[in-house]
């Protein structure tokens, strides 16, 4: 009896199934292997663009900022910042064990804590070496380089999940922005020797925050599952 009812239900919905299969056949989609390849290419492309912009601004236009200092100081800040950036990127790109991506708490935690952790590590590590003096440089160069480096990689990262987040696209976009900003922080850290808190807030933290806000705005429009994707 139950089977026959089930069969009837199946028959009544058969048209819909055929419609879905026909529409799906008309719109081919990427396999898992192709999707992974696309993800790798987009992330690698973003990294390449970031490196190019860094080379252009930091080395060609503004020139290398070198001051005599122990290699342990930039090495330590680099390792800490790279660890934070790695976690932020893994959270923004990866989905964990299920299809719905990271939970709201994870994304909020990364979005809020990544800039705080980067700043705290930079100040803490530099304080050990007594390198917290403010500089006459206001930080606009750092801000400019970081923003110039972040735009294209953020767009590439958002492209990896376009129209695929049914729960919290703004938060995911913000996490992506912060992840890109954190990667930019690592490179800026190599270039800029200043560790004064005001300079750091203006030149290093502000671009991470701005990229996070940009990611949230773009993510809301682009990452969300919609009937007609934008």
């Amino acid at each position: 009896m139950k089977d026959s009812v089930k069969d009837l239900v199946m028959d009544s919905t058969m048209d819909l199934k055929e419609r879905i299969l026909a529409t799906a056949a008309a719109a081919p989609s990427l396999s898992r292997t192709a999707t992974r390849l696309r993800l790798v290419l987009l992330v690698a492309g973003g990294a390449a663009v970031m490196a190019t912009v860094y080379w252009l601004f930091a080395l060609r236009i503004f020139g290398w900022q070198s001051i005599p200092r122990s290699w342990v100081l930039p090495g330590g800040t680099l390792v800490g910042a790279a660890a934070v950036a790695g976690i932020a990127v893994a959270t923004a790109v990866g989905r964990g064990r299920h299809m719905l991506g990271r939970s709201r708490r994870w994304l909020i935690a990364v979005t809020v804590l990544a800039p705080v952790a980067l700043l705290a590590w930079k100040i803490g590590w530099s304080a050990i070496f007594g390198n917290l003096a403010e500089s006459p440089r206001l930080g606009y160069r750092c801000l400019l380089i970081a923003m110039a480096m972040g735009g294209v990689p953020l767009a590439f990262l958002i492209m990896t999940s376009r129209g695929d987040d049914p729960r919290h696209p703004s938060l995911l976009g913000a996490a992506m922005g912060v992840a890109v900003g954190s990667c930019g922080w690592v490179l800026i850290d190599l270039w800029c020797p200043v560790a004064g808190p005001i300079h750091l807030l203006r030149g290093h933290v502000l671009p991470v925050v701005l990229l996070g806000l940009l990611g949230a705005a773009v993510g809301k429009a682009v990452l969300a599952v919609r009937d007609q994707p934008r």
């Binding site: 009544s12 919905t13 819909l16 199934k17 299969l21 898992r32 064990r97 708490r105 599952v225």
Partner: protein
């Protein structure tokens, strides 16, 4: 069940205690039967979900339309039921489910091995529903119409008159609950999702969802009395 109860109550001859004991036994048996039926239903749903996950995994890897057809077969009745309930039988329910499956197809390459497709499908359907409500609200200005409209007649063969009436009673009370309580109750008690899956769909923790379901159930019980469990059966 009534016949069994009558028979059991007629049989004892050892006074009030024996009669009471027999009554308790009948009630216990009835509860056990209900529990077993529910557990069997849950096991069937869980087995279907696992089969759908495996089929989706194969589809993500190989792209064989037969696997996608299998996913549709396994998920479509539940998804369509969910969307129809939310839209109160609105004719666009099928279109919405179609869009939902097309999204799954479109992003099949991002399906992780070992992931669950059911909460993903429900989350997409929920997002599309929210968008639809917003669009309708914007375009036609019918703010409370979709979620608070009385349910029209259903035509599916599984909808018996009693079932329709029961659901109509529950839905009319559900309509008065806050949205997140209603969502939690519908996903777990009516659509049969596990706590973890429903929490993933509603983007909250299983503990919070359990609390919401509890509050929704308490509110429903306050309105419907002890008939609630009977109605949900």
């Amino acid at each position: 069940m009534v016949t069994a109860a009558n028979t059991s109550l007629r049989q004892p001859t050892g006074g009030l205690d024996a009669c009471f004991a027999a009554g308790v036994e009948v009630v216990d048996r009835s509860r056990r039967a209900t529990f077993e039926a529910r557990m069997t239903g849950k096991c069937e749903l869980a087995a279907e979900a696992t089969e759908a996950d495996a089929a989706m995994d194969r589809y993500a890897r190989e792209g064989d339309p037969k696997d996608f057809a299998c996913v549709i077969d396994l998920l479509q009745p539940r998804l369509l039921g969910y969307v129809r309930r939310q839209l109160h039988g609105d004719a666009s329910a099928e279109d919405l489910v179609q869009t939902c499956f097309l999204k799954i197809h479109q992003h099949r390459g991002r399906f992780n091995p070992g992931a669950a497709v059911l909460p993903y499908a429900f989350a997409i359907a929920r997002r599309l529903l929210i968008d639809k409500v917003r669009t309708d609200r914007r375009e036609r200005g019918r703010e409370h119409e979709i979620f608070h409209r009385p349910p029209p007649r259903r035509s599916g063969p599984e909808d018996s008159l009693a079932h329709r009436r029961a659901l109509a009673r529950i839905e009319s009370v559900l309509g008065e609950l806050p949205h997140h309580y209603r969502d939690a109750f519908v996903l777990t008690a009516i659509d049969g999702l596990s706590l973890e899956d429903a929490a993933a769909v509603a983007d909250t923790t299983p503990t919070a969802l359990k609390m919401r379901t509890h509050y929704a159930r308490a509110a429903l019980r306050a309105r419907l009395g002890d008939d609630l469990e009977e109605l949900l059966r």
